[in-house]
């Protein structure tokens, strides 16, 4: 009996996993995941080396030309996979470099806390050396003296795997002084966080790394000019860095070709899906894969439900509709539809789900996670959540929807220090656009008194 219970518990223990088998993944088409094992075991150093591991670092060290690395990354146009989509090569080219400059820092943003997002966990838990290799390439390009992996505190397994992999890499001569006899010194430390979504914002992350509250900093100066401890610093997402080894080894044209004619944005992407689908999960697919293809891979809607709406990439992206399922999911196309690709992990909303309730859940998340640094975010988001709670209970008042629109505008781009509040405004704005009648239904039929009319 006890044995039965134990196996029952094992079945609910969470393990990150990829939905494609080894047979389906190839080095030419799946640069991020082809080395992963079907049995879910970690690809440690020896196996990683046997699967072309550290070949790109060897090549880059031999070429010894940081500008060539940057040029290749730029030509490949690797868009930042943390959600922003900003060209990694361009970011690397903006770092202050030169003999008279201090060597700076390379920071891997592994603070994956955007609701709906679970892709970097897979790379770190199963294939840590790909990330380390990407970091060495970034360090070479930016002349970084030291790297940090800023990992969220809840990723306990990833921390254990990364620490062991860092030791392996050091012992193997891939980290530390004089890497592989090249004269280049670079090492990495794992820095774990203590829970706060705002740590994913690159300047807040730097503050947190320095042991402070994770408040964002004013830009400029950008981290590439003055980041951690005032030194030039580059902050890149895990998946972004994991793209670098393939790009450097095979070149920009190969990378561009990965997406075929599906997208102007090249490369492959870790796409995933969660919410009410049959088989939620994660796949490495060409950039520009459509939402419909991903939904099909996930076995469609759970128990024959109807699709009402979806978020293309995390809580801070705008709602899309069933009619958008044929759209290529890349940075440019999704942007034109009034949303963002974000992290490329779809959240699926079924027909019977109240959008007001879901937006209330999203805004409560953003309100709770505001760092409090600036007023529109600190005061506006709890106010937004309060109005949404009232609407959800059918206790809204006339003017509430206009108030929500005003709050969303006040939290919009350029109104706040960082992208937290604009991110919060996006699902709200798009929900009001697509599902306004549901918000209107939450307003009670109370007649408006003339005396309460607003002055404007």
């Amino acid at each position: 009996m006890s044995q039965f219970i134990a196996s029952q518990r094992d079945s609910v223990r969470y393990r990150s996993r990829l939905m494609q088998t080894e047979a389906e993944r190839h080095p030419e088409t799946h640069p991020l995941t082809w080395r992963l094992r079907d049995d879910g075991e970690v690809v440690w150093l020896e196996e990683y080396l046997s699967k072309d591991g550290y070949r790109s670092v060897r090549k880059a060290l031999a070429d010894s030309d940081p500008q060539a690395i940057i040029a290749t990354m730029k030509d490949a146009n690797v868009g930042g996979r943390g959600g922003g989509g900003f060209s990694a090569g361009l970011k690397w080219s903006l770092t202050l470099q030169g003999d008279d400059m201090p060597r700076g820092y390379l920071i891997c943003n592994a603070d994956e806390m955007e609701p709906g997002t679970f892709k970097d966990r897979l790379l770190m838990e199963h294939q840590p050396h790909l990330l380390i290799e990407g970091m060495i390439l970034a360090a070479l390009a930016n002349n970084s003296c030291f790297g940090y992996i800023f990992l969220r505190g809840e990723y306990v397994t990833a921390a254990r795997v990364l620490n062991r992999a860092l030791e392996e890499a050091r012992a193997g001569g891939w980290l530390g002084a004089d890497i592989n006899g090249s004269g280049f010194d670079f090492d990495i430390a794992l820095h774990t966080g203590a829970g706060r979504y705002i740590c994913g914002e690159e300047t807040a992350l730097i503050n947190s790394l320095e042991g402070r509250r994770a408040n964002p900093r004013t830009k400029p100066p950008f981290p590439g000019q003055s980041g951690a401890w005032g030194k030039p610093s580059v902050v890149n997402n895990v998946e972004t860095l994991c793209n670098a080894p393939g790009v450097i080894l095979h070149g920009a044209d190969w990378y561009q070709g990965l997406s075929g004619d599906r997208s102007e944005n090249g490369g492959s992407k870790l796409y995933g899906i969660s919410g009410l689908v049959e088989k939620p999960g994660l796949w490495e697919l060409p950039m520009g894969t459509t939402g419909g293809e991903i939904l099909d891979r996930a076995g469609g809607m759970r128990n024959g439900r109807q699709l009402k709406a979806w978020l293309p990439g995390g809580a801070s992206t705008g709602f899309l509709l069933p009619e958008h399922l044929d759209m290529p999911l890349d940075f440019d196309t999704v942007g034109k539809e009034g949303s963002r690709l974000g992290t490329g992990l779809l959240t699926i909303v079924p027909q019977e789900q109240s959008i007001v309730a879901l937006v209330r859940n999203l805004e409560e998340f953003f309100a709770r996670e505001s760092c409090g640094w600036c007023t529109p975010c600190r005061d506006g988001l709890p106010w937004t959540a309060k109005v949404l709670r009232a609407l959800e209970l059918g206790q809204g008042e006339d003017g509430d929807i206009e108030l929500l629109e005003k709050l969303a505008a006040d939290c919009g781009p350029a109104q706040t220090f960082c992208a937290h509040a604009p991110g919060a405004a996006m699902p709200l704005k798009t929900a009001l656009k697509h599902f306004r009648h549901e918000f209107e239904a939450g307003v009670s039929a109370r007649p408006v008194k003339a005396a309460e009319g607003q002055a404007d």
Partner: protein, 171 residues
């Protein structure tokens, strides 16, 4: 404290707190990873918490002294991050993910079942000191939603029926 000491206002952390020597060593090792010792602040709080379960006022001053920064700075950090506990918690901390993917897939039922089974709500600890229940911002286990985390273990998807078996592992 001697019996005849006059009653004075106790300032935060004014009572002595001695860091465990091995914890102090760990914190000093952490400091070496950074240009400035302050960067080890969060890790120092986590090190203390691993031993004590939470971070008492008096530990704040001890950490501040070791890092060479003001206690206010350490306190500011300790109260900012959600995984640093400034009050005693139970032997096991249950983090319930209430983010969008979990919200869509049965978080409410799971939370209700937890509240009913443990007899406590968020922020509370069971009378026997076994469990503390807290909400958490997305666990990054959305393909396993609804998810929860107990100490270092992540579970998902968890149904209300799974709960008794899962909780049993944490005496």
């Amino acid at each position: 404290m001697m019996a005849d000491t006059p009653q004075t206002t106790v300032l935060i952390g004014s009572d002595g707190f001695d860091l465990d020597p091995s914890d102090e060593t760990s914190i000093i090792e952490e400091m070496a990873h950074y240009e400035q010792p302050q960067a080890a602040c969060i890790e120092a709080l986590k090190i203390v918490q691993r031993r004590h379960g939470w971070v008492p006022d008096s530990a704040i001053t001890a950490i501040a002294r070791l890092l060479g920064i003001g206690p206010g700075e350490v306190e500011g950090v300790a109260t900012f991050y959600s995984l640093i506990f400034r009050q005693p918690v139970g032997r096991h901390v249950v983090l319930v993910c209430d983010s969008s993917a979990c919200f869509l897939t049965g978080f409410q039922e799971l939370r209700q079942a937890l509240v009913a089974q443990l007899g406590i709500d968020y922020g509370q600890t069971t009378e026997d000191g076994r469990f503390t229940l807290l909400p958490v911002c997305c666990l990054g286990a959305c393909d396993g939603a609804p998810a929860l985390m107990i100490d270092d273990d992540t579970y998902g998807p968890v149904s209300p029926e799974d709960l008794p078996g899962v909780l049993e592992d944490y005496p």
